[in-house]
């Protein structure tokens, strides 16, 4: 689920003039995909995990992305326990490196590591990655339109392609008709397409640098009864980023 949301950024293009009746599932998902086609970006985000025991864990991190999300760097600022830890994802998260400042070691991770929870949150590294998974790894079918979170939405069913490299067999997505924001996404088990695992809800959509952006994203984990909230504290789009930021040398800085 590479493309779902890098750093909590849900980016929208200006609403195109389209006639909903003419749109197929593939047309709609292409429009959703275009939301991520921002050349580069920077975000500072707060991630709050509500654990099963009701405790909270809060992380603050900065992230940089380039080439429409093909290159990503995430660096933790808080808490002290993880400060300086960094993750570099290249080639749409097919190549991942993690840096641990205590040991000053960079470790190359295989793609299976994307299934791991990010800092114990309800987001996996795969969820946080970037790319074009919606179109590359899924077939899209339009279902009957529905109202969701107060918006008139297209409802889509995305089923994994036979060669799809994702950990979910199926997604159900509600896309706001007005701006193509995927306001709610339901995730289903890799092997059992009827087993509902997680629900992501996006809210507080603001226009930043002319790009509609969801400032808050919550992932509810149905199995574990936990939730993780991502809140954007700062966002910038189409900034100048040198390629040297996305290297192993830069990870250690």
């Amino acid at each position: 689920m590479k493309k779902i949301m890098f750093s909590g950024l849900i980016i929208l293009l200006m609403a195109p003039v389209l006639y909903s009746q003419e749109l197929t599932g593939e047309d709609i998902i292409k429009k959703v995909n275009e939301l991520f086609d921002v050349e580069s970006g920077y975000a500072k985000a707060k991630m709050t995990i509500m654990t099963t025991s009701g405790q909270k864990r809060t992380f603050i991190y900065e992230s940089w992305s380039k080439n429409k999300g093909e290159k990503n760097l995430v660096r933790y600022l808080e808490p002290r326990r993880v400060k300086g830890q960094a993750t570099l994802m290249l080639n749409n998260a097919d190549d991942i490196w993690m840096y641990f400042p205590r040991t000053q070691r960079v470790r190359k991770l295989a793609s299976h590591a994307k299934k791991q929870k990010m800092q114990g949150s309800d987001f996996s590294y795969e969820d946080m990655g970037s790319g074009d998974a919606f179109t590359k790894d899924f077939n899209s079918k339009r279902l009957k339109d529905e109202k969701m979170e107060g918006y008139d939405c297209y409802k889509l069913e995305l089923t994994r392609k036979p060669d799809g490299d994702v950990s979910y067999s199926r997604l159900i997505m509600w896309v706001i008709k007005e701006n193509f924001v995927p306001v709610v996404i339901d995730y289903y088990d890799e092997d059992d397409p009827t087993l509902w695992l997680k629900r992501m809800i996006e809210s507080d959509i603001r226009i930043i640098d002319n790009i509609p952006t969801a400032m808050k994203v919550v992932m509810y984990n149905k199995n574990d009864n936990t939730q993780t909230e991502l809140e954007l504290l700062e966002v910038k789009y189409n900034i100048t980023l040198d390629d040297s930021i996305f290297t192993e040398r830069s990870l250690k800085k």
Partner: protein, 396 residues
């Protein structure tokens, strides 16, 4: 005592002055640990407290100064007689009257672990001073790392700093050339390293050459000049390579080092590892390690082998071993796992259940138990005793 107070005063003044500047960070951790070991049906305890204070200052956009100071206190059983752990055929090698020298003391200590300045430019980084040197792709063993030996049961614990001048030059977006010089008393005795790191497809790889004096000891001879066991320094030249990537969905890493020794026999080390994360979040790793310096028959292990192993002068004394680790996040705060280490050469093994728990935002608890199941005289012999560690760490 006076010296210690002066040092504290100096540190507090320096840190306060630096703290007053912009872009200065003060952080670190406090760690309290208890180790329990069962030896010959008796339980012994060793406690230690560690305070680590880190300082990082960005003096300008391209100049960084970083340092850390460690203070460690030990309590409980602070002297361990190594001979208690060894088989009678090994202890019989101890020269008469020297039994009291085979004691491992744990004394309070404080030291400047790292202190370095880093100059960063567009295509190069120059790091000068005491710094960590991390080499290789292996998780538990690193054939290309002649500077450090990891703790077998706790391989991700931080390594000490080494005095060095290091230059990293970026050769394009993918390749990096590293040269390192770690000065000793003469140029000839100083360590030198050159490494080329790069990437082909989804694999990282590196080629490395190192020259370093390896400081073995002869643990059957005492040197009255140094009041220590006799040191046998020997030049070691290493040529190695490592890689890490993905094959058939599995994480794969390989690390190899061939060592030319000045006086003793040449040897090589090899690590091959793989890991995988299942859909249900369980993580599994297996790493194989061969060290031809190690022996194939445990009856050949002698006193020097054991002492060098315990003094962390060499990585293993058996030739072939396998480390495996499986871990599952039972809750979002609790990870439980088990390590199994099997010495193929002497057919002994150890099981090490582990636990990691996040008590609060900046407080972690880590614990493990270790159970040995080998014959007497093997690496994981039952007579080595069972034991465990519990550690709480508070970050600030």
């Amino acid at each position: 005592m006076k010296k210690w107070i002066s040092l504290l005063v100096f540190l507090s003044i320096s840190l306060s002055a630096l703290g007053a500047q912009d872009k200065v960070e003060l952080f670190g951790y406090f760690e309290s640990q208890i180790m329990v070991a069962e030896i010959k049906s008796k339980f012994y305890q060793l406690y230690n407290n560690k305070l680590r204070v880190d300082l990082k200052s960005s003096l300008s956009d391209n100049i960084t100064f970083a340092a850390n100071f460690d203070y460690i206190t030990f309590h409980g059983k602070t002297t361990w007689n190594i001979l208690d752990f060894l088989a009678p055929n090994v202890t019989s090698e101890v020269p008469e009257g020297m039994e009291s020298f085979y004691v491992l003391p744990f004394s309070n200590r404080h030291f400047l672990d790292n202190a370095y300045i880093k100059l960063s430019f567009k295509h190069l980084d120059l790091t000068v001073g005491k710094q960590q040197i991390s080499l290789g792709t292996g998780y538990v063993w690193n054939p290309t790392d002649v500077f450090n030996i990891k703790e077998l049961l706790d391989p991700s614990y931080e390594q000490p700093g080494h005095n060095a001048i290091r230059l990293d030059v970026a050769l394009g977006p993918v390749y990096t050339l590293t040269t390192l010089f770690s000065p000793e008393d003469t140029w000839n005795n100083s360590a030198k390293l050159i490494q080329l790191k790069g990437r082909i497809s989804h694999f990282d790889y590196s080629l490395i050459a190192i020259e370093k004096i390896w400081r073995f000891h002869n643990y059957t001879q005492f040197d009255m000049d140094t009041m220590n066991f006799l040191e046998l320094p020997e030049k070691r030249q290493l040529l190695g390579a490592s890689t890490a990537g993905e094959l058939l969905g599995l994480g794969i890493w390989v690390e190899y080092g061939y060592n030319w020794m000045e006086n003793t026999e040449n040897f090589y080390e090899l690590v091959v590892g793989t890991d995988y994360t299942f859909d249900f979040q369980t993580y599994m790793m297996v790493e194989y390690y061969r060290n031809t310096l190690g022996k194939t028959n445990y009856e050949q292990y002698n006193l020097n082998d054991w002492m060098r192993l315990m003094a962390m002068e060499q990585k293993t004394i058996s030739r072939d071993q396998i480390y495996s680790f499986i871990q599952h996040p039972f809750t979002d705060l609790l990870n439980i796992g088990i390590q199994a280490i099997y010495s193929i050469s002497d057919k002994s093994f150890a099981l090490v259940p582990t636990l990691n728990y996040s008590l609060s935002e900046n407080v972690d608890i880590m614990a493990y138990l270790n159970f040995n199941f080998g014959k007497e005289g093997t690496v994981f012999s039952r007579t080595m005793g069972n034991g465990g560690i519990a550690r709480v760490r508070v970050y600030f």
